[in-house]
Symmetry: C2
Subunit: 84 residues, 2 copies
Amino acid sequence: MSRYRVEVRVMPRATLLDPQGQAVQRALHALGFGDVGDVRVGKHLVLDVQADSRDEALAHARAMCDRLLANPVTEDYDLAVEAA
Amino acid sequence: MSRYRVEVRVMPRATLLDPQGQAVQRALHALGFGDVGDVRVGKHLVLDVQADSRDEALAHARAMCDRLLANPVTEDYDLAVEAA
Protein backbone atom coordinates (compact mmCIF):
# COMPACT_ATOMS: atom_id res chain seq x y z
CA MET A 1 0.00 0.00 0.00
CA SER A 2 1.24 3.47 -0.86
CA ARG A 3 -0.04 6.90 0.02
CA TYR A 4 -1.47 9.14 -2.65
CA ARG A 5 -2.46 12.77 -2.56
CA VAL A 6 -5.75 13.26 -4.41
CA GLU A 7 -6.82 16.75 -5.46
CA VAL A 8 -10.54 17.12 -6.17
CA ARG A 9 -12.07 20.18 -7.78
CA VAL A 10 -15.87 20.37 -7.59
CA MET A 11 -17.56 23.15 -9.56
CA PRO A 12 -21.18 24.08 -10.25
CA ARG A 13 -22.19 22.94 -13.74
CA ALA A 14 -21.53 25.58 -16.39
CA THR A 15 -25.21 25.63 -17.43
CA LEU A 16 -26.50 26.34 -13.90
CA LEU A 17 -26.76 29.63 -12.07
CA ASP A 18 -24.20 30.05 -9.30
CA PRO A 19 -25.69 32.36 -6.63
CA GLN A 20 -22.52 32.22 -4.51
CA GLY A 21 -20.45 33.29 -7.53
CA GLN A 22 -22.87 36.14 -8.23
CA ALA A 23 -22.59 37.31 -4.61
CA VAL A 24 -18.78 37.28 -4.84
CA GLN A 25 -18.94 39.20 -8.14
CA ARG A 26 -21.15 41.90 -6.57
CA ALA A 27 -18.85 42.16 -3.55
CA LEU A 28 -15.81 42.54 -5.83
CA HIS A 29 -17.56 45.27 -7.83
CA ALA A 30 -18.45 47.07 -4.59
CA LEU A 31 -14.76 46.97 -3.62
CA GLY A 32 -13.83 48.64 -6.91
CA PHE A 33 -12.88 45.58 -8.97
CA GLY A 34 -15.10 46.52 -11.88
CA ASP A 35 -13.01 44.49 -14.33
CA VAL A 36 -14.40 41.21 -13.01
CA GLY A 37 -17.00 39.40 -15.09
CA ASP A 38 -18.43 35.99 -14.37
CA VAL A 39 -17.42 34.33 -11.09
CA ARG A 40 -17.94 30.66 -10.25
CA VAL A 41 -17.35 29.25 -6.78
CA GLY A 42 -16.71 25.59 -6.07
CA LYS A 43 -14.81 23.40 -3.65
CA HIS A 44 -11.27 22.14 -3.60
CA LEU A 45 -10.52 19.04 -1.51
CA VAL A 46 -7.18 17.41 -0.82
CA LEU A 47 -7.42 13.77 0.32
CA ASP A 48 -4.73 11.49 1.62
CA VAL A 49 -5.59 8.01 0.23
CA GLN A 50 -3.92 4.63 0.84
CA ALA A 51 -4.02 2.34 -2.20
CA ASP A 52 -2.04 -0.34 -4.03
CA SER A 53 -1.61 1.77 -7.16
CA ARG A 54 -2.27 5.17 -8.62
CA ASP A 55 -5.17 3.71 -10.63
CA GLU A 56 -6.75 2.24 -7.50
CA ALA A 57 -6.43 5.58 -5.68
CA LEU A 58 -8.11 7.28 -8.64
CA ALA A 59 -10.94 4.74 -8.73
CA HIS A 60 -11.55 5.13 -4.98
CA ALA A 61 -11.52 8.91 -5.28
CA ARG A 62 -14.02 8.76 -8.14
CA ALA A 63 -16.32 6.57 -6.01
CA MET A 64 -16.05 9.08 -3.13
CA CYS A 65 -17.01 11.91 -5.45
CA ASP A 66 -19.97 9.98 -6.84
CA ARG A 67 -21.24 9.02 -3.40
CA LEU A 68 -20.48 12.05 -1.24
CA LEU A 69 -18.20 14.82 -2.44
CA ALA A 70 -20.05 16.07 -5.52
CA ASN A 71 -23.75 16.44 -6.29
CA PRO A 72 -24.22 14.57 -9.58
CA VAL A 73 -27.16 16.77 -10.60
CA THR A 74 -25.60 20.18 -10.08
CA GLU A 75 -21.82 19.75 -9.97
CA ASP A 76 -18.92 18.49 -12.06
CA TYR A 77 -15.63 17.32 -10.59
CA ASP A 78 -12.18 16.53 -11.76
CA LEU A 79 -9.40 14.64 -10.06
CA ALA A 80 -5.62 14.64 -9.97
CA VAL A 81 -3.62 11.95 -8.17
CA GLU A 82 0.04 12.01 -7.27
CA ALA A 83 2.22 9.88 -5.02
CA ALA A 84 2.48 11.44 -1.54
CA MET B 1 -8.03 44.95 -22.88
CA SER B 2 -8.13 41.16 -23.01
CA ARG B 3 -10.06 38.63 -21.03
CA TYR B 4 -8.28 36.29 -18.67
CA ARG B 5 -9.51 33.27 -16.80
CA VAL B 6 -8.14 33.29 -13.26
CA GLU B 7 -8.27 30.11 -11.16
CA VAL B 8 -7.99 30.67 -7.42
CA ARG B 9 -7.48 27.89 -4.91
CA VAL B 10 -8.01 28.86 -1.27
CA MET B 11 -7.08 26.28 1.37
CA PRO B 12 -6.99 26.31 5.18
CA ARG B 13 -3.40 26.74 6.40
CA ALA B 14 -1.60 23.44 6.89
CA THR B 15 -0.93 24.19 10.56
CA LEU B 16 -4.60 24.82 11.41
CA LEU B 17 -7.33 22.33 12.22
CA ASP B 18 -9.87 21.90 9.43
CA PRO B 19 -13.21 20.91 11.01
CA GLN B 20 -14.92 20.65 7.62
CA GLY B 21 -12.20 18.30 6.41
CA GLN B 22 -12.56 16.20 9.56
CA ALA B 23 -16.32 15.97 9.01
CA VAL B 24 -15.78 14.82 5.41
CA GLN B 25 -13.22 12.26 6.58
CA ARG B 26 -15.67 10.81 9.13
CA ALA B 27 -18.44 10.67 6.53
CA LEU B 28 -16.14 8.86 4.08
CA HIS B 29 -15.16 6.34 6.77
CA ALA B 30 -18.85 5.77 7.57
CA LEU B 31 -19.44 5.04 3.88
CA GLY B 32 -16.73 2.38 3.93
CA PHE B 33 -13.80 4.40 2.57
CA GLY B 34 -11.47 3.42 5.40
CA ASP B 35 -8.39 4.06 3.25
CA VAL B 36 -8.79 7.83 3.53
CA GLY B 37 -6.49 9.72 5.89
CA ASP B 38 -6.30 13.47 6.26
CA VAL B 39 -8.87 15.55 4.34
CA ARG B 40 -8.64 19.30 3.77
CA VAL B 41 -11.50 21.31 2.30
CA GLY B 42 -11.05 24.67 0.63
CA LYS B 43 -12.57 26.78 -2.13
CA HIS B 44 -11.96 26.93 -5.83
CA LEU B 45 -12.98 30.10 -7.69
CA VAL B 46 -12.90 30.81 -11.39
CA LEU B 47 -12.95 34.52 -12.28
CA ASP B 48 -13.29 36.17 -15.64
CA VAL B 49 -11.04 39.27 -15.50
CA GLN B 50 -10.49 42.06 -18.06
CA ALA B 51 -6.94 43.40 -18.08
CA ASP B 52 -4.26 44.82 -20.37
CA SER B 53 -1.86 41.96 -19.73
CA ARG B 54 -1.50 38.63 -17.98
CA ASP B 55 0.60 40.32 -15.28
CA GLU B 56 -2.07 42.94 -14.65
CA ALA B 57 -4.76 40.22 -14.38
CA LEU B 58 -2.56 38.39 -11.88
CA ALA B 59 -1.97 41.55 -9.83
CA HIS B 60 -5.71 42.32 -9.74
CA ALA B 61 -6.53 38.74 -8.74
CA ARG B 62 -3.95 38.89 -5.94
CA ALA B 63 -5.52 42.12 -4.65
CA MET B 64 -8.98 40.47 -4.72
CA CYS B 65 -7.68 37.54 -2.69
CA ASP B 66 -6.03 39.82 -0.15
CA ARG B 67 -9.12 41.99 0.27
CA LEU B 68 -12.00 39.51 -0.03
CA LEU B 69 -11.49 35.99 -1.29
CA ALA B 70 -9.07 34.59 1.29
CA ASN B 71 -8.75 35.11 5.03
CA PRO B 72 -5.10 36.10 5.52
CA VAL B 73 -5.02 34.69 9.05
CA THR B 74 -6.39 31.22 8.35
CA GLU B 75 -6.05 30.55 4.63
CA ASP B 76 -3.45 30.33 1.87
CA TYR B 77 -4.23 30.84 -1.79
CA ASP B 78 -2.62 30.26 -5.11
CA LEU B 79 -3.45 31.64 -8.52
CA ALA B 80 -3.25 30.56 -12.13
CA VAL B 81 -4.02 32.92 -15.02
CA GLU B 82 -4.61 32.01 -18.63
CA ALA B 83 -5.93 33.92 -21.62
CA ALA B 84 -9.68 33.31 -22.00
